[in-house]
Symmetry: C2
Subunit: 395 residues, 2 copies
């Protein structure tokens, strides 16, 4: 039977997440934080209006799938042009150092927090990603988006998504099969087979959509078939033991160079915006618990923030330095990769859903996202030389 209480819950989620997002925007904070706070307030941690709930869980899962599909759609390989090597180096070093840093820190706390080696590793994966949107906003505000640093950062962000998706695929494989050289081998073979298949299928779908577009123009039905493809690849990824969001991302990439990609982007954006993303973000808040907030967890969280900041600053900065950027430029690149965002939250929620992470970790991850998002623009500003104030002509 259909439980009508779900209607009230969704109404509450939409109202509060939007209200808090708007409030955050007013004080120049990321809106995603507002939606998370709304979830925490609604959930068992504060007002106990909404309990964790299977139906909300399914809608939230669709929400992540649509978010990763959108990320795939937005992939712009042209951003790599001329900056392929520096972008790759910056991205790889950033991911490796951040993953290693998070893993190492979690290992140090594994006894106190009761984390297994795999759980410690997963914390590394959570903080391995970066958020492009914050950096892009800060750079374009400063008018520095089209500089050498800006181009390298945009290119690195393309690789970053792909890398995290790959790392997540391997991690999921280890999570469900255990770690040994043999299982690792099997996982890697599975991943290669899946990516080969996905590339082939993506190539066909890309040609098909371009052919259909040339023949009949922009048709509403494209969106339905694209979403069907997204769900199909998400399902297949799970069949291969990878994450559904890996499949969704790959499905998005298949369309990223079609001529109807902007159309698909704008329509699926609305699907996410109006229902699925708010429910996904609120659901994280609803699952957040502060009851296990011990002093060692607080200490761990503070150190995790520090590791998250320093690892990207150093890892990505080093990548830039190796690519013959000047010291100042390397600092700018490092600062531009510090912010964490949706991807960290998505990876964390995935881990919690699968039991790779206790939901007790949510507050820590949210704090990492919050602090890095707030500090990254300030660091970026500091990394650029102060320019003499231009005399304004006229007024």
């Amino acid at each position: 039977m259909f439980d009508t209480r779900i209607l009230l819950i969704i109404a509450l989620i939409l109202l509060t997440t939007k209200a808090f997002s708007i409030a955050m925007k007013k004080i120049h904070m990321p809106q995603v934080i507002g939606a998370l706070i709304a979830g925490v307030l609604l959930g068992p941690a504060v007002f106990k209006l909404v309990e964790p709930n299977d139906t909300i869980g399914v809608i939230a899962e669709f929400g992540v799938i649509f978010l990763l599909f959108a990320a795939g759609l937005e992939t712009d390989f042209r951003q790599l042009k001329g900056m392929l090597k520096p972008s790759l180096l910056i991205s790889v070093l950033g991911v490796v150092v951040a993953l290693g840093g998070g893993f190492g820190l979690a290992l140090l706390f594994s006894k106190t927090l009761g984390l297994s080696v795999f759980q410690s590793f997963y914390i590394g994966v959570v903080i391995a990603s970066m958020s492009t949107s914050i950096t892009v906003e800060a750079l374009s505000e400063m008018g520095k988006l089209k500089t050498k640093t800006g181009t390298a950062l945009l290119g690195a962000s393309v690789f970053d998504d792909i890398l995290v998706i790959m790392v997540l695929a391997v991690t999921m494989g280890i999570g469900s099969n255990g770690f040994s050289l043999v299982t690792l081998g099997i996982i890697i073979v599975k991943i290669i087979v899946f990516f080969a298949f996905a590339t082939g299928a993506g190539f066909l779908v890309n040609k098909l959509f371009n052919w259909a577009y040339a023949r009949m123009g922009e048709k509403r039905r494209f969106t339905v078939f694209a979403i069907a493809y997204c769900f199909l690849m998400a399902y297949l990824a799970e069949l291969f033991g990878l994450a559904d969001i890996t499949g969704a991302y790959i499905a998005g990439v298949a369309f990223c160079s079609t001529r109807c990609v902007e159309f698909l982007e704008s329509k699926t954006h609305w699907l996410s915006y109006m229902l699925f993303t708010p429910v996904f973000l609120a659901n994280i808040g609803i699952h957040t618990s502060f009851s296990g907030m011990t002093s060692s967890l607080i200490l761990f969280t503070l150190l995790l923030v520090l590791v998250a900041i320093l690892s990207k600053l150093m890892g990505c900065g080093l990548g830039a330095k190796f690519s013959k950027f000047t010291n100042r430029e390397s600092l700018q690149v490092g600062a531009g990769m510090v912010a964490r965002g949706e991807v960290s939250i998505i990876v964390a929620s995935k881990g919690i859903a699968l039991g790779y992470l206790g939901s007790i970790m949510y507050p820590s991850i949210i704090v990492v996202v919050l602090v890095t998002v707030l500090i990254a623009p300030l660091m970026l500003k500091a990394a650029y030389p102060k320019e003499p104030i231009q005399p304004v002509s006229g007024q």
Copy 2:
């Protein structure tokens, strides 16, 4: 735990419903029929790929809610201008005669088909509505939309939605409380209280949105708040013992005269189109069973089709005649109200979900929709006088 099979099921539903809709369109049949057929093929009746499933049920329910919300948004009171009385009379007589006819026929078959009095009544409710879109398409194809008949038909379609929503509200009340004069009184009081509340709230929301629109222009967030309001009213309607779709429709009406209604319409349209409506329609097919198809049910279905056609033709025709339309015009009006569509399907699925109707009734309802949709345009054409073929200038 999230069952990943749901991803495959949704992918299958989206692919097949869209493919069959396109096929139907090619042979000039309504696309909704294609989606229903796709569901029947996927479901236990034929290929047994998809079993009835709770998650799909929830998405389908959201689908109906969005469809009724959209119907509310599209309400255009200006269509009643100058045709208020004829429209009302045509609509009321059509609904009453069709409801009575369906009820009567079902009562005749109640022994053979094992229908209670209430279940028989519900069959009447299912065939009480009409479908505007088919008529509008046929009329505009003939260039007769802006005639006296066309205006009366458009006006009647506005009242028709409202009437069916009202009848459904009363019926749901009886369904959950049983029928007696006292409960009927209580139900009517509840309905009046709910509609009074909904009108007040709708008035406020309408003002609020117009004020916000004047202040900040078209904002994305309007859509989120509108959907939250839709879910809230759907929930409240259920609290009052009415149907959630009644609340959703009323919520839509609240926005139908705001200055951002077209914006809301287009965005919620995409939400329905890309995911929820296909799942809703396929879900009906999935629940369709032919195993109880006895010869008496087939006979009943054929007679129900006949009653569905004649009741609107006579009821609405009489309404037009009473409004001083000529005989021919009255025939045109009657023919224009014959087609059944989404609303009949929605009411039927609501009834089946609540146990007011056996799922054995789905094929009958689908046949009614199919036949009336096919026959209505032909009847309309026949009801208009043959015009002498215009000599075409040039080629």
